[in-house]
Structures are given as structure tokens and as C-alpha cells.
């Protein structure tokens, strides 16, 4: 169809022009869920720094970032998985397996570098297992990863039993905890920043990323548009396993311990952060900068609460409440909107099943 003009002639009655965007730039940037979370981070940071004594120090920043690192590493692939319409609840157990395998191998005399590589391979393997069960066997990821959550954790606990390993090379331990000189910024942030850039590009600037969004929002449309839906999801589960095992290696050196029950429940924090950052649990919606803000917000809140001597249980309540708020908020917002403009929207009973003719 190179003869554009001949094609247009009978169909077009007037030549059309389209604006690239329907609303001005500031609206598209500022009036978003992501930006709201960023504002929340800034407010919490200001309030915390001004009201909690000794909070605004490089040391606080350092600990904050060090604690955030595993959550952030896992949140990257989790964002993609949720946007594609799936979920991976097994990530904390994968961290656990990686943590235990590293300790077990190192204690057994395997060189630490080789042990790390094996851990990453294990991560890929468990990711592949999830991916296989979801895409090839065709099982719901929720059920699969509840199962592998138990399985991987069970293996981690099974390998070490009640023992724990606490001797690791000092070099890696200090590397995991070190800051850039005279700042509160940990060295590991270089790795985190690099991965954030890679995932941001992957999600927002590649055909693969476009496919992730389409898959999550309308799987059938994606299939009909030549998106390799299964392959996409399989790759995402691989990435999830890989990054979770990386987080497990980091976790090991950061805390210098290898135990069967390390990082239990971490998947909840990750999912809470990702949903808080504006990713839809139903898939098809989300952006990486929102997720990073979500992770920082949860970390900041936890750190601030801890500084004010609030016990960890209250932090749990806050995390739980934030998680619920993040899913209820859109519904409440939509409900308010529909109350206001009820005339313009079909009733909630308008179903997908019975199509409009």
C-alpha cells in the first residue's frame, strides 16, 4: 500500500491531523498516581527529617538504602510480572533458597564466586519452574507460586535445618555494606541503579515492554497482535527468579547470615510496594518510577517509625493498611466519579459477557 493517496481518496472526506497528546505535559506528569506517590515520599521525608531527632543523617540514608536493596531488586521483575497480569508469590522463598545455597556451598568449601554463580543458576531454575507451570502447563500463577513459595522455602529450611551459617568472606560482607566515601550512599546502589535503568528501558522503551502491557490488559488482543504471550511471561518468571536469587546473595553478605527462615514474608513487602507505586493488580497498568517511589515510601516509613521507637508490629499494620489502601483507592475513586457522572457511565451490571451489538 504505497500509493497512499489513491487509498485515501474515496474514504477520507477531510484530511485529519492529530495532536500527539490530549493534555499538556504538566498534566500528564503531575496528575498521575506515580507522582502522588513521589509527593508522599517527599512529604514523609520532610516530616521525618524535621520531627525525628538525628534522622537526617547520612547514616540513616545508608541504612535505609541498604535495607531497601533486596526489596527494590525483587520489585523490578515483580512490576513487569504484575503488569503482564500474573503474580509471583515465591520470590521471598527464592531469596531464602539462594541465601541458604550460598551459605551451604561456601561452608562446604566451594569458592564463594562459584557459589554465587550457582545461586544465580538456581534462581534461573526456580524461575523456569514457575514459568513452565504457568505458561506451558497453563496453571494460574497465584496457585503455582503459592505452591512454590512453600516448596522453595521448604527446600531452604530442609537444607540447613535449624543450623545457620555466619562465616562469609569479609571482603564481600564489607562490599555489601560499604558507602561511597563521605556520603550515605552504599556502593551497591551502582548495581541497583544499573538494573533499574535496564528494567525501565525494557518495560517502557522496547517492543517487549509494549507486549507486556498489552498482555496484561488484554491477553487476547496481544495474541492477535503477534505478541508471544507465553514466551513473554516465561522470560518474566526467569527474570524474577534471577533477581530474587541476586537479592538472596546480597542479603547473605549484608547480614552475614545464612538461615532457612531468612527473608520470610518479604514477598508481601515487595507486592505492597509495587501496588502502592501504581501498578494494577489486574495487569496492564504501571510505571517503574512509581514502583521505585513505592519501595522508598515503605522503606522510609519503616525507618522513620523505627527511629521513633515504634515497634515492628505497628509497621506491619501500616504496611498492611497501605497495601489495602493502594487497591481500594482506585475503586473508591472510580465509585465517586461514577456517582458524580453516573449518567455518562454504564451501570456496573453492564457485563463483558453480553456484548453491545
Amino acid at each position: 500500500m504505497t500509493e497512499t493517496d489513491t487509498l485515501v481518496a474515496p474514504v477520507t472526506r477531510e484530511s485529519r491531523k492529530y495532536a500527539a497528546y490530549g493534555s499538556p505535559l504538566w498534566q500528564r506528569v503531575l496528575l498521575t498516581r506515580e507522582f502522588a506517590v513521589i509527593i508522599a515520599v517527599i512529604i514523609v521525608a520532610i516530616v521525618a527529617c524535621s520531627s525525628i531527632p538525628k534522622f537526617a543523617t547520612p547514616l540513616t540514608l545508608s541504612y535505609l538504602l541498604l535495607d531497601l536493596t533486596p526489596v527494590l531488586l525483587i520489585a523490578l521483575p515483580m512490576t513487569l510480572i504484575l503488569i503482564s497480569g500474573e503474580i509471583d508469590l515465591s520470590v521471598a522463598s527464592t531469596v531464602g533458597i539462594s541465601n541458604v545455597v550460598l551459605g551451604f556451598l561456601y561452608a562446604g568449601g566451594v569458592p564463594i564466586e562459584l557459589a554465587m554463580v550457582i545461586c544465580l543458576a538456581v534462581g534461573l531454575f526456580v524461575g523456569a519452574l514457575n514459568g513452565f507451570l504457568v505458561t506451558v502447563v497453563g496453571l494460574p500463577s497465584l496457585a503455582v507460586t503459592i505452591g512454590t513459595l512453600a516448596l522453595f522455602r521448604g527446600i531452604a529450611v530442609g537444607i540447613l535445618g535449624t543450623t545457620s551459617i555466619t562465616t562469609f568472606p569479609a571482603f564481600y560482607k564489607s562490599l555489601a555494606n560499604a558507602n561511597f566515601p563521605r556520603t550515605g550512599i552504599p556502593l551497591v546502589m551502582v548495581l541497583v541503579a544499573a538494573l533499574v535503568i535496564v528494567f525501565a528501558l525494557l518495560l517502557h522503551f522496547t517492543p517487549f515492554g509494549r507486549g507486556i502491557f498489552a498482555t496484561g490488559r488484554a491477553r487476547e488482543v496481544a495474541r492477535f497482535s503477534g505478541v508471544r504471550v507465553k514466551r513473554t511471561k516465561f522470560i518474566l518468571f526467569l527474570l524474577s527468579g534471577l533477581l530474587a536469587s541476586l537479592a538472596g546473595i546480597y542479603y547473605t553478605f549484608r547480614y552475614g547470615s545464612s538461615r532457612g527462615d531468612n527473608a520470610v514474608g518479604l514477598e508481601l513487602t515487595v507486592i505492597a510496594a509495587v501496588l502502592l507505586g501504581g501498578v494494577s493488580i489486574f495487569g496492564g497498568r504501571g510505571a517503574l518510577h512509581g514502583v521505585i517511589a513505592g519501595v522508598v515510601l515503605i522503606g522510609l516509613l519503616q525507618s522513620a517509625l523505627r527511629f521513633s521507637n515504634v515497634t515492628s508490629d505497628v509497621i506491619n499494620i501500616v504496611t498492611g493498611a497501605l497495601l489495602m489502601a493502594s487497591v481500594v483507592a482506585p475503586t473508591v475513586f472510580a465509585w465517586l466519579k461514577s456517582r458524580l457522572f453516573s449518567r455518562f457511565f454504564p451501570s456496573p451490571h453492564a457485563t463483558r459477557k453480553v456484548r453491545l451489538q
Partner: protein, 511 residues
């Protein structure tokens, strides 16, 4: 199970339901402007109109699925406001939708009685009584479906029967059938009509929605025509002619609607040989040439879309080959099919065609995202450039490229889907129900576009359930029935009768 029916039993001829000046909008789209309908007891009333004429909206308002914006809805002499389907059910209205809505995991009996199970002592469900009731219902309908089997795996026709049994068991005063015969064979349909007549003779009012004139004239006594969301007329059936009704439905002369020009037919582009997929279609062989529009006709469920999906690599098939310009199209590989030059504008626009909340640009470049990427990266800018070009060519009405496609009218949405696929620069275009649910003006645009594309040498397969559209547009019509190809009719020999005959009868040579 007994509703307020007994007390409100109407005499034949009494008005039982009346809609006046009813309107309904969805956002900017006005689906119904001026709906009028009068149903009488002991009457079968036809509601006709093109897709998008507002028939379904009226049905859903009566069913309590939608709430009207304005107008009057009088039932048995009283104005009613249904807030849910339960309300309309309570008032003795039963609706049989085009697509049956059954619970796949539950038994046939439970599907019929869900929400109003027969009870015995202590409020226990009386399974034996329900089963007996269903047996009697099925006997009356002349079918033999096991009441205890799960609904999963039932054929569409059987599912339809269950919907009808459900409506009958409701003792509904008013029965609404929204294209119930679309997927039925002739035998099944005539059985349904016998039931409908006996229900009419019992004094019930029946609203019958259908596109098939023979059925309407066979069954109905009154006919209401709608067009573009508005009421046009109501007449006794004897006072009408098919031509007159069609004129009212379309609003202009029929002949001018389908402007396929005669163009030179080129070489074979697509060759399908002995394609078979168990349960879907059997031994399908045909060819499509450059510049040719091949119509694929048949009843809903005949396997037409399934063949299209198989060719495009969405679904697998057991045996047979598909070749495009001499090259084999691999099985179950949509990406390869696209690269070879096949494009498919799918049947269900909202589920398969566009990602509704996404913007115009994202939607219209989804199929070419890989070729838009530079060094592996894709940007809004490159998407916008391609999208603006194609959307303008099809004159899609929208302001900005990030406008959500959910806010567009059906016709504009369909143009976005067409733009998306034409952007892939195909050599074979398969369009599945290309004008379903779009307004008359856009419909003409789509027809003109398809004709033009064929003129430029594109090979086109057009699947359509609208007979006039197929007859008007196609150079050649292939007819399918229950998964088999039953006819290959050249344009010169194609009439409504020959096509319908093949769609409902086995080919004589077939086993």
C-alpha cells in the same frame, strides 16, 4: 418459582409492556435515542434493525441490566424502575441472550434453577423434584439432555435450549429472545418455534429478535423496526414486505450499500489444503487470489472464525497446510504469519481487536511494534508518527493520539483496528465481521475501503453473518456448515437463497 404471575394473567391482546421515549447513553455515545415498544399478551413481536440500531440496549433495559436515562417503562399498567436483573425476573420477564450464560461447573438442573431452587422441608434443596421438572421441560422441548451433566462442554445449541428451558420454568409472562436461532440448525430452530407458538397460545408475550426474514415472517405477528438507536415503525406483519422493512432498517436504497468494483483478479495468494481441527472444522480447502474478496458465509458456530484463526496461527490444527504466495505458513505461529503478510481483523473488536483503555497510537502500532524499534528501542515519537499517518488515512475521528480508544464509537474503534492491520502492509487481509456494531456511515466507509484495497491487489477474506454484505461485496462466496465447507458460489450465481441453503444443508456429495 411462582411469581406474581397468577394475579396478573393477561388476556390475549392486552398490552403487557410498553416503552415510550426511552433513551440511554454511554459517555458520549447515545445507544438509544427514542425507544418505543409495545408488547401484547398472546403475541410474538419481532424487533428488527441493523447492528447498532439499539435493539440490544432496549433488551438490556427491559432485563434490568441497564437503567434508562429518560422515558417511560410501563409493565402491566405500572411504571417500573428495574435496578437489577433480579427485579425484572421478579416481574415475570425472562431474557434469552444471544450468548448463553451458564455456570460451567454446575449441573444442567442447577443452571435452570439457580437462585430459585425448589425446596423441601428445612429449606433443603429438592433435587428429585427439580430433576423431574427439568425432565418434563426437556420432554416438552423434545430434547434429551442429561439433567445431571455439567454445563461445561455443551454445544451452543444445547446451551440455548437450557436457556429456553430456564425461561419457561420461570413461568415468565414476557419472554425475550435475542437472536436465539443464530447458532441453531434448522431442526433445532423449528423445534424452538413450536415451543414459542405454544407459549404464545398460553397468553404470553414474546419479543423475538432476528436478522432472518423467513423466520420473522414464519413466526411473528407484529414487527417493530429500529434504526440508529431510534424507533422507526410498528406494523402488523401482513401489512409489510421484506423490501419495505429493509428500506426502513437501512434508511436508504440497498443497492448503493455494497460497492465492490470489478477488478482484475491476480495470482493465487493463499492456498489452504485439507485443513482439519477436531471439533472445529474438517477438510477445508480453498484459494484466494490477489484482488479478490472471498466471502465466508455460514451460521454462527459453523467454524468460519476458527478457520481464520488457524490460518493466522492463533489456534493449532491437526492436519492440512496453509501456503501464502508459495511459502508454507507454519502452524500456531502468529508472528510468522504476520511476517509472511497475513493480517486478521478479528471478530470481537473489544476482546481481540484493541486494548480498550490504551491510546490510539499504542493500539494502532501494536502489530508493528518490532519494526518501529530502532536498535531495539521504541519511542512514543516513532509510534505517533506511524499512527498519525494511518489513522488519518482512515479518517478516524479523534483529537489526540493518546486518546483512550474506550471513548471512541464502535465505528471509529473498528477503523483503528483496520489501521493497525493495514500498517503491517499485508498481502492477505482477513476481516471477521468487519461491520458488526458500527454505524451505517462508517459501514459504507469500510466497504469502500475493502473494495479499494482489493483493487490495489490485496487478497481479502471477508467473514460476515450479514447476507446482503457478503452478496454485495464478495467475488466468490464460500459457505460453511458445522465445520464443513458446503459450497463455493461465484458472484453471478450467489443469491440469498443459494447461500442460506448451503449454510443449513449438507452438501449432497458429502458423506
Amino acid at each position: 418459582m411462582v411469581m406474581s404471575t397468577a394475579s396478573m394473567r393477561a388476556e390475549a391482546g392486552d398490552v403487557v409492556l410498553e416503552l415510550r421515549g426511552v433513551s440511554k447513553s454511554f459517555g458520549p455515545v447515545q445507544a438509544l435515542r427514542d425507544g418505543e415498544l409495545v408488547l401484547r399478551a398472546g403475541s410474538i413481536h419481532a424487533l428488527m434493525g441493523e447492528n447498532g440500531a439499539g435493539k440490544s440496549t432496549i433488551v438490556k433495559i427491559i432485563a434490568g441490566l441497564y437503567q434508562r436515562d429518560s422515558g417511560e417503562f410501563v409493565l402491566g399498567g405500572e411504571t417500573v424502575h428495574f435496578r437489577s436483573t433480579a427485579d425484572s425476573k421478579q416481574s415475570g420477564i425472562a431474557v434469552i441472550y444471544q450468548e448463553p450464560t451458564l455456570f460451567p461447573d454446575l449441573s444442567v438442573t442447577e443452571n435452570i434453577f439457580m437462585g430459585r431452587h425448589l425446596l423441601k422441608s428445612f429449606g433443603r434443596i429438592d433435587r428429585a423434584a427439580m430433576r423431574g421438572h427439568v425432565r418434563r421441560l426437556f420432554q416438552r422441548l423434545g430434547v434429551d439432555i442429561d439433567p445431571d451433566r455439567p454445563a461445561e462442554g455443551l454445544s451452543i445449541a444445547d446451551q440455548q435450549i437450557i436457556e429456553i428451558a430456564k425461561a419457561i420454568s420461570l413461568e415468565a409472562r414476557i419472554l425475550i429472545m435475542d437472536e436465539p436461532t443464530a447458532a441453531l440448525s434448522e431442526v433445532e430452530a423449528s423445534r424452538l418455534f413450536a415451543v414459542a407458538r405454544s407459549l404464545r397460545d398460553e397468553g404470553r408475550a414474546i419479543l423475538f429478535i432476528s436478522h432472518r426474514f423467513d423466520e420473522v415472517y414464519d413466526l411473528c405477528d407484529t414487527i417493530t423496526v429500529m434504526r440508529d438507536g431510534a424507533y422507526i415503525s410498528t406494523d402488523r406483519i401482513e401489512a409489510t414486505t421484506v423490501a419495505g422493512i429493509v428500506r426502513k432498517m437501512v434508511g436508504r436504497d440497498v443497492d448503493s450499500l455494497y460497492p465492490k468494483q470489478t477488478v482484475p483478479i491476480g495470482d493465487v495468494v493463499l492456498k489452504v489444503e485439507k485443513l482439519t481441527s477436531t471439533g472445529q472444522f474438517h477438510d477445508i480447502s480453498f484459494e484466494v487470489r490477489a484482488g479478490e474478496i472471498v466471502g465466508l458465509a455460514g451460521l454462527v458456530g459453523a467454524g468460519r472464525s476458527e478457520v481464520a484463526r488457524a490460518i493466522f496461527g492463533i489456534d493449532s490444527y491437526e492436519s492440512g497446510t496453509v501456503t501464502l504466495e508459495g511459502r508454507v505458513v507454519p502452524r500456531l505461529n502468529t508472528v510468522a504469519a504476520m511476517q509472511l503478510g497475513i493480517a486478521l481483523v478479528p471478530e470481537d473488536r473489544r476482546q481481540q481487536g484493541i486494548v480498550l483503555p490504551f491510546g490510539l497510537a499504542r493500539n494502532s502500532t501494536l502489530a508493528i511494534k518490532s519494526s518501529l524499534a530502532r536498535f531495539g528501542f521504541i519511542t512514543n515519537r516513532s509510534e505517533n508518527r506511524s499512527a498519525a499517518d494511518w489513522l488519518a488515512r482512515l479518517s478516524v475521528k479523534a483529537n489526540a493520539l493518546d486518546t483512550s480508544t474506550a471513548t471512541l464509537s464502535g465505528g471509529n474503534q473498528q477503523k483503528v483496528v483496520l489501521a493497525k492491520w493495514l500498517a503491517t502492509n499485508p498481502t492477505l487481509l482477513i476481516v471477521d465481521e468487519p461491520t458488526r456494531g458500527i454505524d451505517v456511515g462508517t459501514k459504507a466507509d469500510v466497504h469502500a475501503l475493502l473494495s479499494k484495497l482489493a483493487g490495489e491487489g490485496l487478497a481479502i477474506i471477508m467473514i460476515s453473518s450479514e447476507l446482503p454484505e457478503v452478496l454485495g461485496m464478495a467475488d466468490r462466496i464460500l459457505v460453511m456448515r458445522e465445520g464443513h465447507m458446503t459450497a463455493d458460489i461465484p458472484r453471478s450465481e450467489a443469491t440469498a437463497e443459494t447461500v442460506m441453503f448451503s449454510a443449513t444443508h449438507e452438501r449432497r456429495s458429502a458423506v
